[in-house]
Symmetry: C2
Subunit: 346 residues, 2 copies
């Protein structure tokens, strides 16, 4: 459908660039610059020297510091067999949307489970997204800023939620979008993001998947994955950007708009850096651990404006993608994009 | 086409409101507020007390002051038989896009021609849009501000053009859009705007019309209207929001998306007030004269950002509107919208 493909191209030509690189700033923008150059055009950037003064940068890489400071805390730990929570998983020869087993554990035990994560067996990830930094982790509050002043002034209100993420290289987050302006500060380790602008929505083949949840038995050390009853469907992105050698041909044939379309934006956010991840951008996240085996980040969710950009996005999503012969696309499969409401927002 | 109609509705529900009223501010916003609350969501507002300190407010209503200050100036005066310059006009039993006869005249003579304008005979309007305030009218510079500080700081650069408009109730401006962020300050008299957001583009039935130009003979007092040679086509809005009693039924039948769609935004900008007219909004302007028979305004054109909103607009315009049965629309005529490039920008 040449009109949609032209939109993918035009937003890159006009504003985002075609290199797939994310702009870097050497220091935080002032509120007017942040609004004008990034929030208004819905354009990501990586900001250095915005959190250099945080005590967290030096203290959080030490397990002993964390365990001691959080010795009395009970936190929500997400357990999966694969490291992929809130992601598609095979079930009954089909795919479901699988959520982690969430267990409330004393922090020192959680840190041990994260550190001893074993892929294909048990991967633990502290990634509760309910403003957990200001509740479960409140004893770490003094180690970083409660909000980012320039962003708060630009957006006009304090963050709606501040979340802490403690994991390692075994966890990843599948493609999804959030209805927030997101400022993502990496404290230790690094995060690898693949980003696609909202205008590329058809390239992710959002479809309805039945919701399922992992249950972990500490007795057997085994996971069970069961569909929710009554059945609930979740619209989710179908694309895995890192297919295995065995499945790559099949995945590329199933999702040609992703694999043959314009290059996604990719970036690595290192310890001490902040990513501005604009509202409604699709993102996939992998991570690299620090010397102590951890990746820790704090993210600030600020309210987004539901304005003309959001209305245009909904209009775009409501337009069924009809493939047309195009030199860019290798096949002409007609794809129907689900345009139902987003039931799941995280 | 229900997806397009849903877009018209959603942008009003989310951001613009459904009343057709334009928000009013009692004083100028600060740069962050202006960006966040108006430029980013592409939302108009009327601002009071932004130009109260301008000497122009008290001096320009006086013909003697203007004639004296501009006694040595030669200005570009637009002459038409109807007061409608840059508008559709009948020609050879069809419609053309008619531009005014532009004549360079000493200002005192221009002011006399404006004041003595007679509809259906000769209407004069000083409305040159080439940064004329900073060139032809430079001797008035001290009477108002060279730019609006809060807007300049928000947008990050000074105005690309500042224009002066001197006319009266006999002149009007047909529906069109500009590729600028526009701040429109009324000094004397008043302006009546009808505004439609860019998302309503299909409602204006933009079509290609052959360009023509009026020629005025001061000897005969007659106008001649002739097509440009070689032929040049201009994409222009087909809708006249104020059809005459004789043509109203016909016009409503031809343009149902305009006449039966959501209520347009309407506002009157009075002397001393400033309208923020966001980039790409369609606007139709009529005016009311002051006691001395004049309407005078200064407008500031600031560069707009050609970003995702602009790309979305082009995508929307590229989608052919196919009428579907709708309770809102009285007929089902299939309408084709021209999606060619805008050759004419003013």
């Amino acid at each position: 459908m040449k009109e949609v493909e032209e939109l993918w191209r035009e937003v890159r030509d006009l504003s985002l660039g075609n290199s797939g690189r994310v702009e870097r700033l050497e220091c935080p923008p002032n509120p007017v610059e942040f609004l004008r150059d990034f929030v208004t055009p819905n354009k990501p950037c990586i900001i250095s020297n915005a959190i250099s003064h945080w005590p967290a940068l030096s203290s959080w890489p030490h397990h002993a510091y964390l365990s001691q400071t959080l010795s009395a805390a009970t936190i929500s730990l997400h357990l999966t067999p694969t490291g992929a929570a809130d992601a598609l998983a095979p079930l009954h020869s089909s795919l479901c949307f699988a959520s982690a087993h969430v267990q409330h554990v004393p922090f020192p035990e959680a840190l041990s489970l994260i550190s001893n994560s074993e892929p294909h067996k048990l991967v633990a990830y502290a990634q509760q997204q309910n403003d957990c930094f200001r509740s479960e982790y409140s004893s770490l509050a003094a180690d970083c800023d409660p909000h980012l002043g320039w962003a708060t002034e630009a957006i006009g209100s304090e963050p709606e939620a501040v979340n802490l993420w403690i994991g390692n290289q075994h966890s990843q987050t599948s493609f999804h979008k959030d209805h927030y302006e997101n400022l993502y500060a990496v404290v230790t380790g690094e995060k690898h993001f693949i980003l696609l602008p909202p205008t590329d929505v058809h390239r992710l083949y959002i479809r309805q998947y039945p919701a399922a949840t992992y249950t972990y038995s500490s007795d057997t050390g085994e996971f069970d994955l069961e569909l929710e009853r009554p059945t609930r469907h979740v619209p989710w992105c179908s694309v895995d950007p890192y297919p295995s050698v065995e499945t790559v041909d099949d995945e590329m044939a199933k999702f040609p708009l992703y694999f043959n379309g314009p290059r996604p934006f990719e970036c690595t956010v290192k310890a001490g850096e902040v990513l501005y991840l604009p509202s409604m951008w699709f993102h996939h996240v992998r991570q690299g651990a620090d010397d102590g085996g951890l990746t820790i980040a704090v993210n600030y969710w600020y309210d987004m404006q539901f304005d003309v950009k959001y209305a245009y996005f909904n209009f775009l999503q409501s337009i069924q993608y009809r493939s047309t012969p195009s030199p860019m696309l290798k096949d002409n499969l007609a794809e129907e994009i689900d345009s139902g409401p987003d039931e799941y927002e995280s």
